[in-house]
Symmetry: C2
Subunit: 238 residues, 2 copies
Amino acid sequence: MTARFTGVGVGPGDPELITLKAARLIREADLVAYIANTSGESQARHIAADVLTGAKVGQRELPVPMPMSEQRDLANRVYDEAAREIRAALDAGEQVVFLCEGDPLFFGSFAYLLIRLEADYACAVVPGISSVNAASSALRLPLTVLNESFAVISGRHSEAQLVDVLNTHDSVVIMKAGRARPRILHALATAGRTGDARYLEYIGRDNEMIETDVARLAHAAGPYFSIFVVTRNQREIR
Amino acid sequence: MTARFTGVGVGPGDPELITLKAARLIREADLVAYIANTSGESQARHIAADVLTGAKVGQRELPVPMPMSEQRDLANRVYDEAAREIRAALDAGEQVVFLCEGDPLFFGSFAYLLIRLEADYACAVVPGISSVNAASSALRLPLTVLNESFAVISGRHSEAQLVDVLNTHDSVVIMKAGRARPRILHALATAGRTGDARYLEYIGRDNEMIETDVARLAHAAGPYFSIFVVTRNQREIR
């Protein structure tokens, strides 16, 4: 087998929402890399823990310690160092996988490693269940019916941008709600869509929380892993 | 176990892109239902064929024959009849799964059965890999970086709506491109985004086709399972 660097989606949190392909590639890898906090804890590794118990003999792990910071240059130094270690493994002919929460190419950090390695090595991506699809499943709520339009937006956008998207699209998912929650709640009220919205935290994990009446939410920051799902309430799909 | 009706995503086409949870629930089900054409062929069943070889003894299948037609009342009669057969199984205490290509609640037919059954029975949904995430993985192309905005739109929208979305969002996925391909190509040119677009057919299947220069595409209808992925070419993510 040629040395290959593969971004592998492990899904939103439920260890059973890993695909058969991701499970196989994780077990077969020589080196398994993942983002961790500076204490070494990694949500992606936690999700894949059961799969990793069946890994091949001699498999190594590479936690990539990412400081909680908005500073891009700090993050870039961490990616540079991780890419250097991954290059060493690929130069030795190894299979390297990078575990990604959700999907590797949807609001994730895998892109930052891919761009550092894709010119020099064979690279591949195994898609994962994104929190968008996990949220609609948890709510048992169709994201789109018939010809409705649908947008995904980061909560980091301005309130004016949020209102504009809420006015333009039937269904809207707002990712990375966390610290933006007060701004998002205000934008929902301004667009007259508070009643169309549901709120979810930690989907598929032990501490999952769903609030179907977002008017009850405190106008305060929530956790990073939180999301709003906004759809038209009156659905005519029969 | 309580009788339960579960929509199960089987992903975009690659049989290995089924989740561990979907594979388990498909094997454990008493009745496996899926949309088929009037000759009995089913893409969803085809994707799950390997999983179904390990199914429990006595498992039954229910193909739901859907005529190729835009007439809603014809489709509704098919859903009514399928719901009637599924009710009989649930009333007998059985586990029923409905196989869904991609994700059950994203542009799929599962919503039409869910709405007919959710008031009377325990229902659940297992998310699947959507063609949106499968497309970006096949292209090895991040759908969103940093604070880019992202929209998904059906090709069935008007050209003016397509142009508006292309002008408003950094990344746009256009689903159900099929017969709308000439209109989509015209909208891309009008919005000045032909060079930002890639086109994919039958992602993850044996007949997968990727065209990174959409100016080469014929202005003619393509297959139903086709998709455009539009992103900014000049990415600054380092």
